[in-house]
């Protein structure tokens, strides 16, 4: 699971209103190279929940001194874009779980795939 995906995932346990972001508890993390595209990253930044991204990076020990808000004119700062690219697409959680911050319910991640199915009465 890449952190770009995590940024969009939220808990949907019944009745939960503060299910975002899901807490990451990783037991195995991998870094996989992926081709850098500056335009992709700079267009993606405004679509992200930035704070959640930083939080996720911290949980994985991959903060890389990313700022708490995106730098102004980030489109032209390649160094910054590359850091964001890495955290969005190259760092992957292979094993672990995602936890709903409100209900505590845990969803397993195995082989890089999170299982967010709820059982019938949840």
């Amino acid at each position: 699971m890449k952190l770009l995906t995590h940024n969009m995932l939220t808990s949907h346990v019944q009745g939960v209103t503060k299910g975002y972001p899901l807490i990451i508890k990783a037991t195995e993390v991998k870094v996989n190279e992926l081709e850098f595209n500056a335009q992709f990253v700079s267009r993606m930044i405004p679509k992200l929940e930035w704070k959640a991204l930083i939080q996720a990076a911290e949980w994985l020990g991959q903060s890389q001194d990313l700022p708490s808000t995106p730098k102004p004119n980030y489109e032209s700062v390649e160094d910054f874009l590359r850091k964001v690219h890495r955290i969005l697409l190259e760092v992957e959680v292979v094993e672990g779980c995602l936890q709903c911050p409100e209900s505590g319910r845990e969803f397993p991640i195995s082989n890089g795939v999170p299982n967010l199915l709820l059982i019938e009465d949840e």
């Binding site: 890449k2 969009m8 995932l9 009745g15 999170p114």
Partner: protein, 487 residues
């Protein structure tokens, strides 16, 4: 041996550099997206045949390899000759005589040279070993009556061709000037295999129209007999070298030579499921949504992943999210991805793919609202998977949940379904969240299906009374109103 082959290839290409007409079969309904791809990548204008599911375009032979790399095309053939208005006689005997005359005067030479060139190209591409599907392939060919006959021992076939290839090199392969008689041309082709066993061939005929006094079997048999007599080739239905195509659509007749043995439409999938979508169809659907840089594209019912896989291979500047509720589907998708990654890594690249898989419930997506740009999926048909009754409950909640996660105003959905009635009814119940842009009618495994292209309206989800409640709480009241919907 390889160096000799390369040299041979270059020689042929130098001699040939001519324009040939290529015909291709495509999923019916996607002729225009296929023509777009041809224009984009080959800079050639394709014409769409009146015979659905076919396009034609002219290229110079140096572009042949690129043609094989196109993603919209199922099968390829080189046109020997096209007739716009062939006048068929009214008795079977007369028609048979006509086939004999025709076989003798067709301009075979150039097409056969292209066929030879094509064989070298296919060898250069290498053979991709594919595991056979465990369930029967239910997404059959569209628009053709012929079956996909793959020579049972493909390795042996390539060796035969290689032997022919080398022999051919010994003879000057220049195109004959126009006024040469057919006799000379025929012997030139013959002489290229001195002492070699004659080529094996079969004729595949597709016939449509109600004014013919013969069937496709009649035509295949009679034309086949004429071809055999002319070339002295051996007829063989399964282990053939040359597949001659005879396409008859009313008065339009096209004679071609096949350039693909296996259909190109299963290229990414090694691990099949019961309803795996053809890659060419998946590709056509993806073209319809025109993926942009940084688009988040979600397939919430991905099955074995045909659509996201095709997407991630072609549009690497978008991000693909593949989801399914079924654990087997998820693990098959993962296997298919691993296989693709291995293929690209073998080719030297070490890059990963902009794609993730999640196991989830489509009617209750664990995603933030308004986070998705495109939703693209193959919805359960109710015949091969699920049931029609289930669709009446599933479709409305699907469409609603998709509307929630999709960006208002800019978001799009491209949805394939055979249960058109149910789908349209469900659409009308989503209270102005979706607007129909257009529909492409397709044929999937013999079933008439529709690809619905929808635009997400600017209406914000949750502002209408019915969905003012949190989307993932019980939809009991909605279910009540569905119950009186009859088939």
């Amino acid at each position: 041996m390889t160096a000799l082959l390369m040299l041979h290839l270059e020689l042929i290409m130098q001699e040939l550099d001519q324009t040939v007409t290529i015909g291709a079969t495509v999923p019916t309904g996607f002729e225009h997206t296929a023509a777009e791809e041809v224009q984009e990548k080959l800079e050639a204008t394709a014409r769409v045949s009146k015979n659905r599911g076919r396009i034609y375009f002219d290229i110079t032979t140096d572009k042949l390899l690129k043609v094989h790399q196109l993603k919209s095309l199922d099968n390829l053939f080189v046109v020997v000759k096209e007739y716009d208005d062939y006048q068929f006689k009214t008795t079977k005997e007369e028609v048979q005589i006509d086939w004999q005359e025709l076989a003798a005067k067709l301009p075979w030479t150039n097409a056969l040279e292209v066929w030879k060139l094509n064989n070298s190209i296919k060898k250069k591409k290498g053979r991709r070993k594919r595991t056979k599907p465990t369930k029967s392939d239910q997404c059959g060919n569209v628009g053709t009556k012929s079956t996909d006959t793959v020579p049972s021992d493909t390795e042996e076939l390539w060796e035969d061709l290689e032997a022919l290839e080398v022999k051919g090199n010994q003879r000057d392969v220049s195109s004959q000037p126009e006024n040469d008689s057919e006799e000379e041309k025929r012997s030139e082709i013959q002489d290229q295999e001195p002492g070699e066993t004659p080529l094996k061939f079969r004729v595949t005929c597709n016939r449509a129209g109600d004014k013919h006094c013969f069937t496709s079997n009649d035509a295949a048999r009679d034309f086949g007999g004429a071809v055999q007599e002319f070339f002295q080739w051996k007829a063989d239905m399964t282990k053939f070298d040359v597949e001659v195509l005879l396409n008859i659509h009313n008065n339009e007749v096209v004679v071609g030579i096949a350039l693909t043995v296996e259909s190109l439409h299963r290229r990414n999938i090694t691990h099949f499921g019961p309803t795996t979508l053809r890659s060419t169809l998946a590709y056509g659907m993806l073209r319809l949504c025109k993926p942009q840089v940084s688009d988040v594209i979600v397939d919430p019912m991905c099955g074995t992943g045909a659509i996201p896989l095709e997407g991630v291979m072609e549009w690497q500047n978008s991000f693909f999210l593949a989801g399914d509720n079924n654990g087997t589907a998820v693990s098959r998708t993962r296997s298919n991805i691993k296989h693709i990654l291995k293929r690209t890594h073998d080719g030297g690249s070490s890059s990963g793919l902009p794609l993730d898989i999640v196991q989830w419930d489509l009617c209750n997506l664990p995603m933030r609202s308004s986070s998705v740009d495109v939703i693209i999926t193959d919805m359960p048909f109710g015949k091969r998977m699920g049931s029609k009754k289930k669709n009446w409950e599933l479709y409305p909640s699907c469409l609603r949940e998709m509307a929630r996660v999709c960006k208002p105003g800019t978001g799009k959905a491209v949805l394939l379904t055979q249960d058109k009635k149910c789908f349209l009814k469900a659409l009308s119940q989503t209270e102005g969240l979706w607007r129909k842009l257009h529909t492409v009618w397709v044929n999937v495994g013999g079933l008439h299906a529709g690809v619905f292209v929808l635009k997400r309206t600017a209406v914000v989800f949750g502002t209408i009374s019915e969905d003012a409640m949190e989307p993932h709480t019980a939809t009991g009241s909605q279910k009540g109103s569905m119950k009186d919907a009859s088939e």
